[in-house]
């Protein structure tokens, strides 16, 4: 047993404050265990979102000592000594305590044309090489924790949610576009509606991804190249000019 001090944000959309809790932790405890201990012993109304406690569902995103992380994947004994600050992720509206309203992400997802295969294939099972599925599988590891959305400066600092779907949806799109059996053409949509051009490859998203998906290198950059190929360089340039001036 070791004692830890946690400073947890408490509040809702109207405002809030940091509150301090002391927790006795067993070996191997993660931040989520400490939050649960607070709920159990000190304040049952402390709100947090979680499901699996195994880094598989992407529910427990928070900012721990300022670093966007999964609470269930962050060991207490791996953090620097001193109080541990636990805050909700910042880019999405606060509901209560550590819980934010991430519904925007689900709204964007609806706008993406689903996987579409050639109807001529009919009932035939697909034949695909392992090599070809691997590229796509990387993107499909995404657990929708939205930590990348949380740090992407286009969404976080510039609040351009009306213009850019964010890295999570970019890799969803990459996964569809690179799926060997998919025949839909999403190029125009990726450029216009999803706003891939807003990404300027800062790679902050990659740094926080708990699934270590190479969001920019393997996803967004090839996606940009594809879109530019299919739309023609000229139209892209025209779009850029319009955006600068518009």
């Amino acid at each position: 047993m070791a004692e830890y001090t946690l400073r947890v944000f408490r509040g809702d959309a109207k405002g809030g404050e940091e509150r301090e809790y002391r927790v006795q932790a067993a070996e191997g405890w993660v931040v989520l265990d400490a939050i649960h201990a607070i709920q159990r012993e000190q304040d049952g109304s402390l709100a947090c979102r979680w499901n699996c406690k195994a880094a598989k569902c992407g529910s427990c995103s928070a900012e721990i000592n300022g670093i966007p992380s999964l609470m269930c994947k962050t060991r207490l004994d791996a953090l620097p000594p001193g109080p541990i600050r636990v805050y909700p992720i910042k880019t999405f509206p606060l509901i209560r305590d550590l819980v934010t309203d991430v519904s925007w992400n689900y709204e964007q997802a609806k706008k993406i044309q689903a996987f579409t295969y050639d109807p001529k294939i009919g009932d035939q099972p697909f034949r695909i090489r392992q090599r070809d599925v691997e590229r796509v599988q990387e993107f499909r590891k995404c657990i929708e924790c939205f930590l990348c959305q949380n740090v992407c400066h286009v969404l976080r600092e510039h609040q351009l949610k009306d213009h850019y779907f964010g890295p999570r949806q970019m890799i969803r799109l990459a996964g569809l576009e690179m799926h060997p059996m998919d025949i839909a053409d999403r190029a125009e949509m990726i450029w216009q509606e999803a706003g891939v051009g807003y990404c300027n490859i800062t790679k902050c998203c990659e740094e926080v991804c708990p699934e270590s998906i190479r969001i920019t290198d393997n996803g967004i950059i090839p996606l940009k190249e594809r879109v530019i190929d299919s739309r023609g360089l000229l139209r892209v340039l025209r779009g850029l000019v319009r955006r600068r001036t518009g």
Binding site: S45, C57, Q130
Partner: protein, 597 residues
Amino acid sequence: METYDSFEYDVLVIGAGGAGLRAAIASIESGASTGLVCKSLLGKAHTVMAEGGAAAALGNMNEPDDWRVHFVDTMKGGKFINHPRTVEIFAKEAPDRILELEKYGAVFDRTPDGKISQRPFGGHLYRRLNHVGDRTGLELIRTLQDKAVSLDVHTHMEVTLTRLLLDDGRVIGAFGYVRDTGKFVLFRAKAVVIATGGWGKMFRVTSNSWESTGDGAAMAFFAGAQLKDMEMVQFHPTGMVWPPGMKGILVTEAVRGEGGILTNSLGERFMFKDEYMPEQYRGQFAEDEAEARRWLDDKKNNRRPPELLPRDVVARSIYKEVQAGRGSPHGGAFLDIRHRGAAYIKAKLPSMYEQFHRLGDLDITKERMEVAPTIHYTMGGIAADPETCATTLPGLYAAGECACGLHGANRLGGNSLSDLLVFGRRAGLAAAEFAKANAPGKLDEEQVEVETRSLLAPFEGGNENPFHLHSEVQDIMGEHAGIARTTAGLEEGLAKMLAVKARLPNLKAEGGRAYNPSWHTCRDVVHMVALGEAILRSAAERKESRGGHWYLDYPNESDEWAKKNVTATFVDGEVRIGSSPVPEMSPELKALFEGKK
């Protein structure tokens, strides 16, 4: 009087794990207006945690697999108290459901000739688990989620339903609250599908997610539906034991499927001990360690290692080794996969590698893991018709882990994910059909008022901490309804559980209604106590040992109990236990066992 929002659909699907999503897809595709409710965000349900794969006899691995072999394996694994017709439908339809998933966009691992790759798993004679590394559940749920969204499903996320609404015995909707506001909500529907998953959270050492508190089964139970075989709870042989914070987290069976070996503190590969080999599997497993080693590279000419016996067998063997003083330092067994080499391990078991590395300070390519049994799955549940998933209540259907019929006394690994697809679809189709054939029922407001009062009671002066009560339930279940059961233990457990039940009216929620975990836990505890009582009573009823039910006072399988399912119903506030005959196999199915049983 409290106000509530209200919605109306032809079909209401409660639960958005694999079963609920597949049901919603089927219902929408049959033209029914469909509402989908889940208590978490979409895509986060327990299904997301599944690792090893989905079993379906596609026969892609050059082995003579087909639905008949899958049928036989599943009946054997379930110790013959499964509903044979349910198993038949399952084994026949699973391949189509997997291939269909691919058409929805799922991306499975491939064989060298480009087909879906299949891996070996406990209790399956051939390689049968369609998989994506060790994150098959994520692939399945995300695929179904995207498909359902593309069909414009009406989703209500983070809504907890707490009561089924009845019109003269027919289910006509459900009532509950919206998590982020705490406001009440009512759904009216011509038919309702329950797909709310299992109740592994009733135990402390569990691989299950937060959601697995048995809400759906408890709601159906309270509404009058029959539950079956509640005593059948599955211990997965390999959960993490160290560090304590990680106790119970699953170590996928795929580790053994990929060649992982179990050893005790003496270094013995104990699964080879003769005493652990059940009669019915004798001769089907590798004779010695040399054959097991050869099997790694030549599956055709060698038999599987005994680490791949069904879960109940392996879990009991580990338990016995520990009891005999041959356990690992933290009370389990060693699981060793090092011999497959770092590159192979990282490719085939990436999230296991990561899990131990991150959470257990252990490199599984260099060190042995320590594992012990953990609660994993609930075979019992709402009695459901094989063809339609209809429950004993008109208008109510059940599919997925909350339903009972397919797995008997022990589920085989990989059979749940395909269960979700096969019976999720069937439940959705049948519910949509029922909705077409029936007018909406009549809602009497009284039920809503009663439920409103009951939900708000924890704000009115109780003094029981719901988290502590939950913890007491876990202690009771762990101590008295665990892997080895006795009459005295079950009786003591029941007495304790009834004492907890008496304290339920005093539950206390702290704070307000908006996103309040203590308030949510209050209702979870009510559900777990009801199902816990049903488990303890059902366990005492089945006077034999079979599958997940290991009863020390009756250590053997009995011919009499081989023919019975234990039933539980809730009548006038009391749990009533009975039994019903296991349905007969058709002559064609019986013939599949000729000379094999």
